[in-house]
């Protein structure tokens, strides 16, 4: 048996188990396998939940709900899509359903300065323009906002978004185009004549 000295990532790779195997173990009641799946996917699920809600407590709650639901329904996961896609679909569903009930979110949205910590002003972007864009994204209809957040903010491809949202890829592209047009219009008075396409 050969043992090679490697850096700290050695443990991760040495004991790496394939995802289908991990899923099978979770279904057999292995909580450590469940934790491994959670470790692999939870950061991105949390990011998505946070981007969609803008609230750390809600993002935490929805991430938990996503995994509780995912583990309880894991037997239904047929492997047609990637597990990440399936999990993100659950996340978007959990967030969308819950946000309709969270009335107080509307109030939270009004104090955007509290929930939009800027990453710094070294990008040369006018803070007023930036703030206006953020507010414009918040004001988009939900289906457009989700598409913009997933594509432009979180970097999902159209194929991934289409799978997560259960729509055709063309629909996804069309929604993004509509959303961007609305964002341009919202910024037009701050950058007259510049942003109309």
């Amino acid at each position: 048996m050969q043992h090679v000295t490697r850096p700290a990532v050695a443990l991760q790779t040495a004991h790496r188990v394939s995802e289908p195997e991990l899923i099978a173990r979770v279904l057999a009641g292995d909580r450590i396998a469940a934790r491994e799946l959670y470790d692999a996917h939870s950061p991105r699920v949390f990011r998505l939940a946070f981007r969609l809600t803008g609230d750390a407590d809600l993002a935490r709650e929805f991430t938990q709900d996503t995994f509780v639901r995912a583990f309880s329904q894991l037997a239904r996961f047929r492997g047609d899509s990637a597990l990440s896609t399936w999990l993100h679909r659950v996340t978007v569903t959990v967030v969308a359903n819950a946000m309709r009930k969270v009335k107080r979110f509307r109030e939270r949205e009004t104090s955007l300065e509290d929930v939009h910590p800027f990453a710094g002003s070294d990008s040369g972007v006018d803070p007023v323009l930036r703030d206006r864009l953020h507010r414009a994204i918040d004001a988009l209809p939900e289906i457009y906002r989700t598409t913009v957040i997933m594509h432009d903010i979180e970097g999902y491809t159209h194929t991934e978004i289409a799978e997560v949202l259960g729509v055709a890829e063309g629909t996804c592209k069309s929604r993004l185009s509509q959303a961007r047009a609305q964002l341009r219009a919202a910024l037009s008075d701050l950058a007259p004549g510049e942003l109309e396409s």
């Binding site: 000295t5 934790r35 470790d39 935490r60 309880s72 990008s123 864009l133 903010i153 510049e194």
Partner: protein, 221 residues
């Protein structure tokens, strides 16, 4: 040009729009575990206590819980021994793996504690590579390792360690956790060497697969 400006704004938004904070992965996991499997019944109160008393206090609480569990286990051992000494000695003679072969009531205090301990230790060791990517784990991580080290030593001194395989696993975990705790005081270069040693120990002793097997065995019982 117009499109360029808009694209630049959108790229900026990707960095600045609702910038996600660092998630509390362990905290969320405790809730998920509780809701999904109904386990770690003691974890939630312990976490609530921790908010009042601080992280160090929660470590002592966990250790105290373990001591009480071990005390109960020992009491039940003595009672059982008094009640049926002949039968007990037969079991001891025949037993290769007391954890598997003794009855559930006898093992219950140890099984619950050992199962929780093993699950939490596995989670910590699995998270080790990502926690040490920067070359040095944070204080919270090392604090958790120290707490688990205390629990390891208590378990080693309990009937849970009567099983030879479990004892060997606990001894290996004691070694690894002690190395993780030592990372707190090391210099960056020393930490790298220590991390290599930890990884080698984990690989050569198959610690993670053995942890899996032990948890599965206890769950099956």
């Amino acid at each position: 040009m117009k499109e360029d400006r808009f694209e630049a704004l959108m790229r900026d938004a990707a960095r600045t729009y609702r910038k996600p904070p660092q998630p509390d992965l362990d905290g969320m996991w405790s809730e998920i575990e509780r809701e999904t499997w109904g386990v770690v019944a003691t974890t939630k109160p312990a976490r609530i206590e921790a908010r009042w008393l601080g992280t160090r206090a929660s470590g002592w609480l966990a250790a105290a819980t373990l001591v009480i569990g071990i005390g109960l286990g020992r009491a039940s051992t003595m009672m059982k021994h008094d009640a049926a000494p002949a039968k007990q000695s037969e079991v001891a003679m025949a037993s290769v793996s007391p954890v598997r072969q003794s009855d559930t009531a006898f093992d219950a205090p140890y099984n619950v504690e050992t199962s929780q301990y093993l699950g939490q230790t596995a989670a910590l060791l699995i998270a080790l590579p990502s926690e040490t990517r920067s070359g040095h784990p944070d204080d919270k991580f090392v604090g958790r390792a120290a707490e688990l080290l205390t629990r390891t030593r208590l378990l080693l001194d309990s009937p849970a360690a009567n099983d030879t395989q479990m004892r060997a696993l606990l001894e290996d975990l004691e070694l690894v956790l002690a190395q993780v705790v030592r990372l707190q005081n090391g210099q960056n270069g020393q930490d790298r060497t220590e991390l290599d040693l930890i990884n080698r120990a984990l690989e050569q002793r198959d610690v993670i697969p053995r942890l899996r097997t032990a948890v599965a065995d206890i769950s099956a019982n």
